[in-house]
């Protein structure tokens, strides 16, 4: 079925052979529109994986359909990213559940290597998407380019890809070599987009970068700003803001804020998402759920049972004042809940007679 769908898309693209503008329009409007109307990231990333090279093959190298390629590379990057996140969970599971010894160390190292490889691929694809943005609109972070309304989504995706590419490259040993200046460029370039049109995500991205790198205007707390944008953005039905907060807070080791973002994301999801952007909302949920899974694994050794709920904290039982006397009065030997323990032979205390 997927093959048939792809063949149709490829056929449609072939009919526009040689014209980058038509391919851009078809991909950014039609393909993207259809791809994001269901909460199915697998499908989106499969399309991105498959379309990238055909899209490049339809025009001359000097005239790639760059806006279409931003979408394709970003979607393909999501496949690698989600794979990398799975391996990150494998690392956490091995740390928590395996008995100490060489087997545990080997398992952790192996899962970490797999994670790094997948993240490296994600970084390559995300950064390629960002490079297409700069080829299309010029260096990001300088004066804002003229972006047609219908192309703004490609510009936003390109910026998102710049941020993600930097983070995944950094997390995988910097083998792709994403320039470290990318974050600063992205932070400034978010101001070229209308914040409310795009789910308050541009300001959320900017705040996330400020929280990592500094550079925020005086008097602005980037974490507060990020939370504020997440709250405002959730009304749009695309909850990228809460995902960004959970991810950035976890990266910074801010445990309470991470948990807060997860709970808020779950609460926000009780309201129906924007039907046009279901896949993006699903992706956002998956990012927050990943952070939730890491918390669950560290505490309980398994993934999240119900998204929005966190493992119960272990309660340390303190000694009672006076050294541990029965807190309900009476002797320790007595049943503190009243009555003598009279067993009726089955090991359970017998019910008291009326």
């Amino acid at each position: 079925m997927k093959v048939a769908r792809l063949a149709l898309v490829a056929g449609a693209l072939l009919s526009t052979f040689g014209c980058a503008a038509k391919i851009n329009n078809f991909t950014v409007r039609t393909v993207l529109d259809r791809a994001t109307d269901r909460p199915d990231i697998d499908r989106v990333c499969a399309v991105g994986n498959s379309l990238g090279i055909p899209l490049m093959s339809l025009t001359k190298k000097t005239n790639y359909p760059k806006k279409a390629l931003i979408v394709a590379e970003l979607s393909a990057a999501m496949c690698a990213e989600l794979e990398g996140r799975e391996y990150a969970l494998e690392v956490a599971l091995a740390k928590k559940n395996l008995p100490a010894g060489p087997g545990k160390i080997g398992s952790i190292k192996d899962a970490r290597t797999k994670e790094a490889r997948a993240r490296q691929l994600a970084a390559l694809r995300y950064y390629t998407a960002f490079q297409y943005l700069e080829e299309e609109w010029g260096e990001a972070g300088n004066e804002c380019p003229k972006i047609k309304g219908k192309d703004e989504i490609a510009y936003f995706f390109g910026l998102f890809a710049g941020l993600s590419g930097t983070l995944h490259d950094s997390a995988s040993g910097r083998n792709i070599g994403v320039p470290q200046a990318t974050l600063g460029k992205v932070a400034r370039a978010t101001e070229c987009l209308d914040n409310e049109t795009w789910w308050n995500a541009p300001n959320a991205l900017q705040a996330a970068i400020w929280a990592t790198l500094g550079g925020e205007p005086e008097g602005v707390d980037p974490w507060e700003l990020l939370e504020d944008q997440a709250k405002k953005g959730e009304k749009s039905g695309v909850r990228i803001g809460w995902a960004a907060l959970s991810m950035m807070a976890a990266n910074a080791g801010k445990d309470e804020l991470t948990e807060h973002a997860i709970i808020e994301m779950a609460r926000a999801l009780e309201t129906k998402g924007d039907p046009n952007w279901m896949a993006l909302d699903e992706y956002s949920m998956m990012i927050a759920r990943h952070e939730s899974d890491l918390i669950w694994i560290a505490a309980e050794g398994h993934r999240t049972e119900k998204f929005g709920e966190l493992p119960a904290e272990e309660v340390e039982v303190p000694l009672d004042e006076g050294g541990g006397d029965n807190p309900f009065g009476g002797d320790d030997d007595e049943n503190p809940f009243g009555g003598d323990e009279v067993e009726d032979g089955d090991g359970e205390p017998a019910p008291e007679e009326e």
């Binding site: 160390i105 997390a171 470290q180 200046a181 600063g184 500094g214 925020e216 080791g253 541990g324």
Partner: protein, 329 residues
């Protein structure tokens, strides 16, 4: 008897609520958090420590003062932060960052090697013991006007300085410049916007803070290190096996070249045209020496034993330095 039974019951409950082997948490500062280079290095170290039979858990912090405070408060048994931030725990290891004391990476490498080889007792002060010293990079002076390349020309210039660095006011005062307080988050914007004429940072800060914007066409980077910035691991000695810190120092010394590779990569990102080569370093050396002596004698901010060891190292590498005769350190 009843009290004894109750206490026993309480202790039993407490014991069953603890994991079989509680991991030693290290509060680890990395400006990039969990995705940062130093955090990854520490995760590798935690795995290595497992092989030694010690459970270590690395907790990320993007604010190093919070990491240091959490360590002080007993929330973790180890802390990773820059040397300058750990000055308050033990002056001996943090003096390795003394102004102008280690002019090259070889000087730094040999000094760290000596520390892991000889394990001087000064590495431990009270309950705190230094278990690692990693390079962050030589600290260079970034100037918006490349003509400002002598000590004399720095007089009257506004220099962004970390407000928690005790050495900064003495140095800035000594050269007659004006100190503009900054932190890691604001140093880039202050330099790039022209709020200051100069700032001093390691090369890994160049790209993420986009300092090329502040350098513009007129600025440059003076190619003579002011100091060697380091990331240090401090542990609570009693929480670990007796030889753990020594093993750790040896482990991290083995990683010196790998970590330095990251620093050198960052230095390569600064275009060659931006480096300002200076011909005579005597003025800088004299100023650095004066600042070190003042910080040792008047402020107690630098440790004399470490200063002396580093002077010996400089003289072992270049015995023609005037200080090798004067021996003020």
């Amino acid at each position: 008897m009843r009290n004894f039974t109750g206490a026993l019951l309480g202790l039993t409950l407490l014991a069953t609520s603890l994991p079989a082997q509680a991991a030693n948490v290290i509060c680890a500062y990395d400006p990039a958090g969990k995705s940062g280079d130093y955090f990854k290095i520490l995760e590798d170290y935690a795995l290595e420590a497992q092989g030694w039979g010690v459970e270590v858990e690395v907790k990320a912090y993007t604010d190093e003062e919070t990491a240091a405070k959490d360590y002080e408060a007993g929330k973790c048994n180890g802390v990773v932060a820059t040397g300058v931030r750990l000055q308050r725990f033990n002056r001996f290891p943090t003096t390795i960052e003394a102004i102008g004391a280690l002019p090259t990476y070889d000087h730094l490498r040999y000094t760290i090697n000596d520390l892991q080889k000889y394990s001087p007792p000064n590495l431990r002060k009270g309950e705190h013991e230094t278990a690692a010293i990693m390079p962050i990079g030589a600290v260079y002076l970034f100037v918006r006007d490349r003509n400002t390349d002598t000590v004399g020309e720095l007089a009257g210039k506004r220099i962004a300085t970390m407000d928690y660095d005790k050495a900064a006011p003495v140095m800035v005062d000594g050269i007659g410049a004006i100190m503009v307080p900054a932190d890691l988050g604001s140093i880039g914007p202050k330099f790039n916007n022209g709020d200051v004429d100069a700032c001093y940072v390691s090369a890994p800060a160049y790209a993420p803070f986009e300092l090329h914007r502040g350098l513009g066409t007129a600025g440059g980077v003076i190619k003579y290190p002011i100091a060697q910035a380091t990331m240090q691991l401090l542990i609570r000695h009693s929480a670990f096996p007796e030889d753990f810190a020594k093993k750790s120092r040896t482990y991290f010394y083995g990683k010196f070249d790998t970590i330095l590779g990251l620093v050198k990569q960052a230095e390569k990102e600064i275009p060659s045209s931006k480096w300002i080569e200076i011909t005579g370093t005597e003025d800088f050396d004299d100023m650095f020496l004066g600042v070190r002596l003042e910080l040792r004698d008047k402020h107690g901010a630098y440790d004399g034993t470490m200063l002396k060891a580093m002077r010996k190292k400089r003289c072992a590498i270049d015995s023609s330095r005037p200080e090798c005769v004067e021996k003020k350190e």
